[in-house]
Assembly symmetry: C2
Amino acid sequence: MTVSRAFGGKSGVAEATQTRIREVAQRLGYRPNRVAQGLATKRTRTLGLVVSSDRSLSAVLRGAEATAREHGYSILTTLPGRRVGVERERVELLLERRVDGLLLVSTSDMEQHEHVRGLWREGIPLVTINRYCEEMGFWRLFFDYGGAARAVTRKLLAAGHRRIAFVGGAPDYHERSVRERIAGYREALRDASAWTPDAEVFGGVLPENGAALTETLLRQCPGVTAILAVKDRTAAGVLRALRRLQRRVPDDVAVIGFDDTETATCTDPPLSSVRSAHDEAGRTGCRLLIEQMEQPDREGGTLLLPSSLVVRESCGLGSGHAAEESFALG
Amino acid sequence: MTVSRAFGGKSGVAEATQTRIREVAQRLGYRPNRVAQGLATKRTRTLGLVVSSDRSLSAVLRGAEATAREHGYSILTTLPGRRVGVERERVELLLERRVDGLLLVSTSDMEQHEHVRGLWREGIPLVTINRYCEEMGFWRLFFDYGGAARAVTRKLLAAGHRRIAFVGGAPDYHERSVRERIAGYREALRDASAWTPDAEVFGGVLPENGAALTETLLRQCPGVTAILAVKDRTAAGVLRALRRLQRRVPDDVAVIGFDDTETATCTDPPLSSVRSAHDEAGRTGCRLLIEQMEQPDREGGTLLLPSSLVVRESCGLGSGHAAEESFALG
DNA sequence: ATGAAAGCGCTAACAT
DNA sequence: ATGTTAGCGCTTTCAT
């Protein structure tokens, strides 16, 4: 039918017929049926977004949808939580709906990846975000938690800090993001020969943990001039403890958190925080997925997503001219 | 084909054939094609979720997906932002994909609803959440911001507070949630003949607004013993100001915020906050939508979603036994 | 530049 | 209990 050509934007349709078709379609309230189109072409132009991580959902979805739509794709979303079995089931449902590709967003502590290998073997285009599985040929995107922690620690060193502490979590904490932040912090300090065991205090990520750990810290390491808190939540507790202990922030002690949540703008003083580019994760992940679908034989790889330090009042690193500045990290 | 019956769970298939079919399907890696099924049945078992409101995205999506899946539906998600024109376009895309129904989640300040009427007239099943349009026949769900504010104010009155203040926003603020909170607060106080103009301080919702407004408040109304802050962010500023002014919380002044964000657990002391049931909004909205699709002639109506007060240390209303308790409101 | 025929993978209705 | 036929609304291929 000529109508198909007209709507498909194919060549070989006279101007006149073109407009006449549009007109009639309009009058009839015609709406192209993408389901039928999907059946005929075996391409649904639908992507499956599987988000196990609560934290990143909004931003990733926003980024992914923006990119998807630019390319004519829509997104089927599913939130399986962190159980791999559930994830498998949900992916199966998406495949029955014939999504053209999958964007798998994991929590950093997910551990079982066999079924992802299975999907890839089946020839299903996919991209992972934050999934610590081995390299198998598809694109894997990671938030560079370690690199960001390293970079921000170096920034503090460069600013003259010598006793820089880390508060919260633990080197064997279940979330990889936490483990990597600790590792990055240590790396930067060791490189500068400034690492000491008494500047690390571990145990939980809650505000009350941060507060209690900070009291311990200042007892065992009174000369500390800067503190990295493993999450903004933890940093909130750190700030509370410092206030109780009569230390001024940032004059006596600089404090920096991670994640740049709403909390960072609400602490007293407002908290400088390391921000991961969740929206860019969605955009880039989606872009690579679409490329993968178009050129199935091109090899994927590994990509680190950028972080930035959002400087507010708590760390003494800003120019002092703005309430909020942002610096790229690593 | 008998295969269709077997997978459709229809009666009239012998046990033996049933299992044999499953077996062969398994071996062949057969996966039912829901696209073809959708074309044949004219039901895609897909719902369109249109979320203009950032705030509620995660929770609503989680709730909606859970309910959707129980009924065999998947969800196409789109985030149009608050521009109605964009919303129309996105809905159109969803309709081309032949979603069986629409769940429209709005910000409380959305204003144009004509195209929703158009959709409804077209016979498209839909349910709105937080969309202040007129009653047209479909279900409209609302967060009862006003009722929650009224209830929590009454709770403070019942606890013996007489000078209860409201901080932040304004009676003509662009977000309806803010306006309704103020109205609910006033209503409760007027009912108790306890309203005074000097206990209301308006102007912004940011932490710094909350702090500045609180200083004004305590100057013009020194006897205040309880403060409602229009958002948790605002409450964070209120707490900061009270600390500067040497008022103890909750002993001298009780403080309650709205939204129950992460921030509420991070303030000093932890903030009591009014929580709207976003997840239930998703679940209930989805359930009503599915009912609507199954019985298109049944009339919808208006439903208020419940709120609760999450009691932490800042308001002196808890039993003192737990770090966090929750009370239904209104 | 337009049309006609066949088929995408399924289900509904009607045999057998 | 199983098979057959037709058709869902589109695209693709091959005429005209």
